[in-house]
């Protein structure tokens, strides 16, 4: 991209596990959208592009509820948890090409008070990429849910590279520590030690309970526009320096891959870093999609923050904590803030680059990396810069 896109508005709802609240998924998407537009200083009728998250809401109902009468661009990326960051790619193309002026990206779900993630995947498998393969070749043997898919990779990584449970635990502990500095984090006030991690029950061995992301209610949204339009808006824009998406091969099936650890990010990250003209070591922080701890470790390796096989030692010794060499998931992530399908990672990166992250602010943050990870290993990455 020669012309640049900017993120000019961010919005989040309350993140909670509160049976008395019980919002609908649509209401969460709408509230986050309204807040993102307020933050940007825009009105709903300024929006002419919509990119909702797959399967949670759709452009038609968002537009109908917000009063967006004219949509020039409405699209959805089908990459599971990689969708929000991959949507930034599509939105950037739309605003820099002139197809749309302001693209709104709503996300969020009632993942606690509505249908839980663990229940939906197996029963609605047909809606997933590779759904028929899972139905015919995985589910009859009891491989029915995401923690089980990815645990297959985690165990093989442990066998090939000596990755240890304590190293996965270091990731969980870092996310939990960061959540203590975030008033909207569901796990604020509930500290966790490595001993707590190791004592938590097995869910999908080698995954323990505390390797797994939260099931929460929450919505998050961002607004994207061109650099030129961003100059006229209220907020300090955050530049999308580069954004890329990629898929493993085959993307619709996991176990037959020649290289089990090659994911979408493996090809997307070098493209993004080259486009931005920066190296992984230039990043001041990273928000890494953390559905499960091992996927953080794997993405750290495949994005090039360290070599494959070195992720275990990379995450130890406080390197990924605030104050460390590369703070990761400064908001607490899906593991300890809330599971807002990764759009909360984009929002947090913008907040850090605006210098508005309060007690968890990374000092003088200039360059941030955000990743997405979804389905059977689809990947996306955005490199964002302070203006």
């Amino acid at each position: 991209m020669t012309a640049r896109a900017c993120i000019v508005g961010i919005g989040e709802t309350r993140y909670a596990r509160d049976k008395a609240w019980a919002p609908t998924t649509l209401a969460l998407n709408l509230e986050a959208s309204v807040r993102a537009l307020e933050d940007a200083g825009l009105r709903a009728h300024d929006v002419d592009g919509l990119m909702p998250f797959p399967g949670l809401s759709c452009a038609e109902e968002i537009a109908a509820n917000l009063g967006i009468a004219e949509l020039a661009f409405a699209s959805t990326v089908h990459m599971g948890g990689a969708s929000p960051v991959a949507s930034l790619l599509h939105a950037a193309l739309a605003v820099t090409s002139g197809v749309a002026k302001y693209v709104l990206l709503p996300s969020g779900w009632a993942g606690y008070s509505g249908a839980r993630a663990r229940q939906t995947v197996a029963t609605e498998v047909g809606s997933l990429p590779g759904g028929a393969i899972a139905r015919d070749y995985y589910i009859p043997y009891g491989l029915t849910a995401p923690p089980q898919w990815y645990a297959l990779l985690a165990r093989r990584h442990m066998a090939e590279y000596g990755t240890r449970p304590e190293q996965l635990g270091a990731i969980a502990v870092a996310m939990r520590r960061h959540a203590q500095a975030n008033a909207n984090a569901v796990m604020r006030g509930r500290g966790m030690t490595l001993e707590d991690y190791l004592a938590s029950p097995m869910i999908a061995d080698p995954y323990r309970l505390l390797d797994c992301c939260l099931e929460t209610d929450g919505g998050a949204a961002v607004v994207v526009t061109s650099e030129e339009r961003a100059r006229d808006l209220a907020r300090r824009p955050v530049h999308v320096l580069a954004v890329a998406a990629g898929q493993p091969h085959p993307a619709d099936e996991i176990v037959s891959r020649k290289d089990l650890f090659r994911i979408g990010l493996t090809s997307a990250a070098p493209r993004a870093f080259a486009q931005a003209g920066v190296r992984p070591s230039d990043a001041d922080f990273a928000e890494i999609y953390d559905c499960f701890t091992f996927e953080v470790l794997q993405q750290i390796e495949e994005a090039g923050f360290c070599k494959r096989g070195e992720g275990g030692s990379f995450v130890e010794g406080g390197r990924i904590e605030l104050g460390g060499e590369l703070p990761i998931n400064t908001h607490g992530g899906l593991l300890s803030e809330a599971h807002v399908v990764g759009m909360n990672h984009v929002v947090e990166a913008v907040r850090q680059l605006r210098g508005e992250a309060g007690e968890r602010q990374v000092p003088d943050a200039q360059l941030g990396v955000v990743t997405g990870f979804g389905d059977f290993g689809d990947g996306s990455i955005a490199i964002l810069g302070r203006s």
């Binding site: 663990r118 229940q119 995947v121 197996a122 028929a132 393969i133 139905r135 015919d136 070749y137 995985y138 589910i139 009859p140 043997y141 009891g142 491989l143 029915t144 849910a145 923690p147 089980q148 645990a151 297959l152 990779l153 165990r155 093989r156 066998a159 029950p201 097995m202 869910i203 999908a204 061995d205 080698p206 995954y207 091969h249 085959p250 099936e253 176990v255 037959s256 089990l260």
Partner: protein, 134 residues
């Protein structure tokens, strides 16, 4: 407990599981580039050819990785005892998702040699599973 979910016997899955019912483990092999493949596909992922044969597997392979489904996330599979989906790498090079019979999860190890057995789970469906080789 609900019944275990079954594969839908249609298209290439019907052919694959049909061979299993006849006590044969067969994988597709590309007629043009000789690459083996599984799961069944319309075309070869190596060369794009649509020409293939269902070729008989040795039935032998090794445990590549596995997971123990300690917490059930599907009504068809109980937590106690948990199922342990296993990836087997066959001597032909293809991998498939399956499970071991007569092998508690605690006794699984990567590289363990295994051979195919056939489990007639219903009158229509036979699933290939594996047992330890001595």
């Amino acid at each position: 407990m609900s019944a275990r979910p079954l594969p839908q016997l249609a298209g290439l899955a019907k052919e694959f599981y049909g061979f299993c019912k006849a006590r044969e483990l067969r994988f597709q092999r590309c007629t043009d580039c000789s690459a083996w493949r599984h799961v069944p596909r319309e075309r070869c992922g190596e060369c794009g050819s649509a020409a293939f044969r269902w070729e008989r597997s040795s039935g032998r392979g090794r445990v590549y990785t596995w997971v123990v489904a300690n917490r059930s996330m599907h009504p068809g599979f109980p937590s106690d005892p948990p199922v342990a989906p296993v990836v087997v790498e066959m001597d032909e090079g293809v991998r498939l998702l399956s499970e071991l019979v007569e092998c508690p999860p605690g006794e699984l190890s990567i590289g363990m040699p295994v051979e195919v057995v056939y489990d007639d789970v219903t009158g229509d469906v036979t699933l290939p599973k594996f047992r330890r080789l001595a």
